[in-house]
Symmetry: C2
Subunit: 580 residues, 2 copies
Amino acid sequence: MHRTHTCGELTLANLGKPVVLSGWVQKSRDLGGMTFIDVRDRYGVTQLVFDAADDESLRSKARTLGREYVIKVTGTVIERENKNPKLPTGDIEIKVSSLEILNPAKLPPFTIEDETDGGDDLRMKYRYLDLRRNPVRNNLILRHKLAQETRRYLDAQHFLEVETPVLIKSTPEGARDFVVPSRMNPGEFYALPQSPQTFKQLLMVSGFDRYFQIVKCFRDEDLRADRQPEFTQIDCEMAFVEQEDVLNLFEGLIKHLFKTVKGIDLGDIPRMPYDQAMRLYGSDKPDIRFGMPFVELNTAVKGAGFPVFDDAELVVGINAEGCASYTRKQLDALTDFVRRPQIGATGLVYARCNEDGSLKSSVDKFYSPEQLQLWAEAFDAKPGDLLLVMAGKADKVRKQLCELRLEVASQLGLRNRQQFAPLWVIDFPLLEWDEESGRYHAMHHPFTSPKPEDIPLLDTQPGAVRANAYDLVINGTEIGGGSIRIHDRDLQSLLFKHLGFTQEEAQKQFGFLLEAFTYGAPPHGGIAFGFDRLVAMFGGLDSIRDVIAFPKNNAGRDVMIDSPSPISAAQLSELGIGIR
Amino acid sequence: MHRTHTCGELTLANLGKPVVLSGWVQKSRDLGGMTFIDVRDRYGVTQLVFDAADDESLRSKARTLGREYVIKVTGTVIERENKNPKLPTGDIEIKVSSLEILNPAKLPPFTIEDETDGGDDLRMKYRYLDLRRNPVRNNLILRHKLAQETRRYLDAQHFLEVETPVLIKSTPEGARDFVVPSRMNPGEFYALPQSPQTFKQLLMVSGFDRYFQIVKCFRDEDLRADRQPEFTQIDCEMAFVEQEDVLNLFEGLIKHLFKTVKGIDLGDIPRMPYDQAMRLYGSDKPDIRFGMPFVELNTAVKGAGFPVFDDAELVVGINAEGCASYTRKQLDALTDFVRRPQIGATGLVYARCNEDGSLKSSVDKFYSPEQLQLWAEAFDAKPGDLLLVMAGKADKVRKQLCELRLEVASQLGLRNRQQFAPLWVIDFPLLEWDEESGRYHAMHHPFTSPKPEDIPLLDTQPGAVRANAYDLVINGTEIGGGSIRIHDRDLQSLLFKHLGFTQEEAQKQFGFLLEAFTYGAPPHGGIAFGFDRLVAMFGGLDSIRDVIAFPKNNAGRDVMIDSPSPISAAQLSELGIGIR
């Protein structure tokens, strides 16, 4: 038997008990004639003591143990002299009577400690060692808990978990597919799913009523900061629902997860139309842990002869409350921030609110104190506030001000990772114009239902058509999104037409779905959550890599197993393909 | 709102209640001035009544509804005159006050009934309609339940569900891999996992201690009767365990599933060494719902001048108890059965046990009544029994007799689908000789640990080395298999050598695992269950297709979505590959 207990469970209640423990040597120290070793497993750390006075050869053997050796010891639980109140096992130690080395270990290339000395590349190559570190393992334990609680909630709500296929069909819409050559059907390819979208809709046509799946999805995209070629979704769909039903049910899921996993009562999740989110925060995923909404100033600032404002489509600003004391250097840094190429603004106007209520701005030569009072009123400014104002094309300046707002909030410590501010963003546009291709694209996907009252606008003003689509945003990060789907064949065909599909293309790609709609498709809708991102959010982590056991790097490589890799000529030939 | 209740929940307790129901028209019938419609959803069927005396136009509208139309009705729960005790809702009906057609439906290509008139091909093409049928949907509900209960049990046993990657590395060992060309790494390929074997072992090296995953796996094999290119495993691994620990823990899982999902107390699962299974049943997955073990007759039958027996390596038979009354025709049919090309025996010898205890055999001219008494003793035959005896090369004749045993048991009704006889088969050989390649192959996989006491045999008698490997067999079907793994680098290298890998090949393919073993790998072992097969077993079904929502056909095609399919020249070029 390898153990009677784990390394995390023995306490004073077990005093005198003979035990067997197995685990890894965390550290070792000699003190007089004694050697103390911390042995570690997933569950904790327990101190072992080898006393030369009892057994000199055993103590000598203990001194040969290196870090990360795998050992098994037999011994007795005794009370510790120097108790460690930080450890659950800190009141006891094991007086060891026998020691077996189950496997020796080379010195690891980095330390297996909460704060390691290993760089990113090294830790990726030896991911199995990085996974030994508590913070990394705890992220995956968090992931496990979230997955189990998600299933528990949805199961109780009568959702059925149905596995949809991984080997499906390539579609030209959306991101690039990963493809899989078919040996049995030479010249043909499967594609890996970007999402199980059409299959879950077919399950609704089948009357499954409520479907979910925690499922791997795949996108062959160039990997920016926080993307992975394979990622995981909580994918859900319901029949006979309207938007309100979906929002309520999944608000329940999010509350359940926060309650059971983090012990947080989340409260009701506010809702905000897309238009309002763009106007107030310049983003369809606003961070509402703090206020600082946009204030539009066109009426207050135009016509004073300041050409930057006079010529701008939109003059808009934020009130950085209490920041009037910002130094010139700090203000210059903010200006530099908005001028960074990735933001691309030309400048930043500021106005400080003095103690007497007057304003001191960077554009005083254009504005009289009375005119500046209009600013103060627009911002509802108090003494001590700092007003930051930008101008330009409306869409562009909103994006720029959005970045500035987040930056200022970060500087003010308003973006606490342990505070969670969820938000439903609703009423998304159905279509968005794509300059590159010169046509409209589906903002969510081609199966999203327009609001019935907006359907007439499809022909006259396609960009104004709103969708029954919604996103769940937490702390400025999109955690999930979904929509009520089209369930009418003719409406779906119309949408394909507006998205630039010929009838033949639509038939070839989605003929099975269009046909399914003619056999009695119920109204239905759903949502998908980015599970990696949800876990990262719960863990207060920046990167989804931190919550994936074996992630790939930015070149799509798994450097641990050295994949992808060449395959043999025989394999290629059997698949009927060649390398160009 | 689309519904206040489902179609399966209203009873007399809801009398007089105003309700809204949505669902599919199951059937419709007119009776006098009334129209009765059964409306169906996942949860059940409810009868609607439209009375011309109340509202003639509403009743007329109801008469236009075709099968599978999707409707929404508002009405009141009333007591039924002709109650249907078979239905949970059979005591009530809905007096409808308004009717909305949510979606009309074309006539389905086959009937949506428990017994449908649709052939296999048609039902595969319209799988979304086939999934509407109760038996098909119930199989997937069963699958859902088994998945949830599996997770519940393993979670309670401190297993962590960890997702391993789908885009991994191709390995030449085992079945053919599906591969995925990498656009970002031209000329290189990912492979889809045949199992997460090496990743779960690395998780043990990482100290995860207990891992599981319900996970899709992939094999590009020619699809025989009951194989699918993508299938699902319950994949598990544990550290610091011996075989006994693994068997006990997963025996607990199987008992939990039978108890919670089928209400069956399974009892302890017997264990049988591989050698014994082969000797007694001619199979490493014996069906032990019934006895009928093999009886070896060499000593009883040899030397009597019957050349078929005298020349045979093994003479072996079964006692078909109570079958002495089999007619000549029935016995000829059994002989024809064993002579079928896929079994390939040359003949079958039989002996009936008469009422007086004497035997009447098909080889009476070679055997005296006294000699035949030796047979009777060997079989422990009683009057009325039928002895069936075959002869030939030991391995071959055992396989043949295995088929005969199953056939006779089927004829006798001994293979009841609602009876479950699980069995652990243990002590598998580590290696098996492969005639084609002229070398030994791993019987389970190259990571399986030999029994320590058999390691010396590796050089002298490789075929005699037993592994710490085990299979779970239920009713003659292999449901799961696993082993204690090698955790020592040198032993693993030795095994690779015995399996014909050069040191360079082993390093290239599994270098990361060999290296991981040098950094403190704990003893570990695990098991994987074929989840599709487990569900099929629970459902009493022959084919795993019946428990997969969207299966592929024998050519690896999904005929519903028409996949695989050609991809564009642009896609091929971007991937740097061409079609030969």
